[in-house]
Amino acid sequence: MDPTPLIAACLLFVASTAIGMANVRKIITIYEAKHELKQGSAGWIRSISGWTLVVFWLLITWFLATIIGDWHVSGDLDGAIDRSWLRLQIMLEIMAALGSD
């Protein structure tokens, strides 16, 4: 069995965990803002803004994991990347919609 997809998955896990620390902090900040800051106040609006970055982080991690999953089963990285094209388009659409919100 080719161990490369497994190594790629481990690398993705480490990189995503490291990048995700700031996003987890953002999630907690939003949670605290929703429960503790005055709804509709300037501080509340500022604290909850930026949640789209959390979604971007999760979407990108999910997308890269789908390629690795496909690669692991098919053993063909180029084919897995080609087959991810539609997923990438859908993901970019979601990100564009969230980005302009």
Partner: protein, 349 residues
């Protein structure tokens, strides 16, 4: 000035035994520290404390500062200037815990009213402990560090501002996706009335902390500015003109107006391109609001937790544990990766 000090002193002196009184938050009266007598501070004119004053931004110098000549305590660390009335003399700054030196106040603006403390130290301490222990992803030793902190009470200066805004806006929003994505432009007019926007008149109370502790401002709680309400507590003077208060509030007001325009347009993905507003009917109050502040230092960084002296709402600054953040991040990553790996392996899409 000496006469003013004598009046202040007589107001907080017990009429029975001549001892010093302090304001008691539970009774809302003056309590004699020596004989335990209670003296009411309520007057028939208390309702007048909620009065607002018009401000004309086009007037050259709408409000000259006054020379009060009170004894002030100036912090050697943060520069804060506070006054202590009665038995609350302290050698540290209520804001930053730094050392203070005695001096004579230069110029200040007359405070119009204040909301007296309604909660006492024990209740505030309980609220702080609850807040600190309820933090998600906080370091395990946070409670221990916070317990070593010092709790101080202070009347912090605020403005309240009313204004009418006649707004003309230009905005845009997007619909559809892919090749069908379209951007639509809209414009319109709307009127907004801001009622009692609270603006901190001190550099020590940030707008974020204001939004955390002051949810419902109730003008009926306002009382006339009197030495009796200050007795036993520190108070910071108003030292900034109204014009500066309006400037300090400009960013918040801009954000609130943009948010109201987005709600008015009522479409997803709305972007406010620009707006123009004609502000009229500005009314203000210079008031003091009561807060309890916990100062604590976590691994060399000074932090504070603030409790509203009105209803006990609590908000503050807190550290995060990197290990806990990493654990939560790893958990989320593992979950989303598991979904992705199965998704890719099964060839769903």
């Amino acid at each position: 000035m000496e006469q003013q000090r004598a009046v202040t002193q007589s107001e907080i002196q017990c009429q029975s035994c001549g001892g010093q009184c302090a304001f008691d938050p539970a009774q809302q009266d003056l309590l004699c520290k020596s004989c335990g007598s209670l003296w009411t501070l309520a007057t028939e004119d208390d309702h007048k404390a909620a009065a607002e004053f018009p401000f004309n931004p086009d007037a050259p110098m709408a409000e000259p500062p006054i020379l009060l000549g009170d004894q002030i305590h100036q912090c050697q660390t943060c520069g804060g200037e506070v006054i202590f009335t009665g038995p609350a003399l302290s050698e540290t700054c209520p804001y930053c815990d730094g050392p203070v030196v005695l001096g004579i106040e230069d110029k200040a603006y007359a405070t119009m009213a204040l909301v007296p403390f309604r909660i006492d130290r024990d209740y505030a301490t309980g609220r702080i402990n609850e807040w600190v222990s309820g933090r998600v992803a906080a370091p395990n030793d946070l409670s221990a560090f916070a317990a070593e902190g010092r709790i101080a009470s202070i009347y912090a200066p605020f403005w309240t501002f009313d204004s009418r805004e006649a707004i003309e806006y230009w905005a845009s929003y997007t619909t559809g996706s892919g090749d069908n994505r379209r951007r639509h432009k809209v414009s319109g007019k709307m009127n907004v009335f801001f009622d009692d926007l609270l603006v901190p008149a001190s550099e020590h109370v940030t707008p974020l902390i204001r939004d955390g502790i002051l949810h419902d401002f109730r003008p009926e709680y306002l009382r006339p500015y009197r030495a009796g309400y200050l007795a036993g507590f520190a108070a910071e003077r108003h030292t900034m003109p109204v014009r500066k208060g309006l400037r300090l509030n400009a960013d918040d007001k801009d954000l609130l107006i943009r948010n109201k325009i987005k709600k008015r347009v009522g479409r997803k993905n709305t972007k406010v391109d620009s707006y123009r507003t004609d502000t009229t009917g500005i009314h203000y109050r210079r008031i003091l609001l009561p807060v309890w502040i916990l100062h604590y230092t976590y691994r060399g960084t000074a932090k504070k937790v603030v409790v509203s002296g009105i209803d006990g709402r609590t908000y503050g600054e807190r550290p995060f544990s990197p290990w806990k953040l990493a654990s939560y991040s790893a958990l989320l990553t593992a979950l989303i990766m598991a979904v992705g790996l199965v998704w890719g392996a099964t060839g769903i899409l």
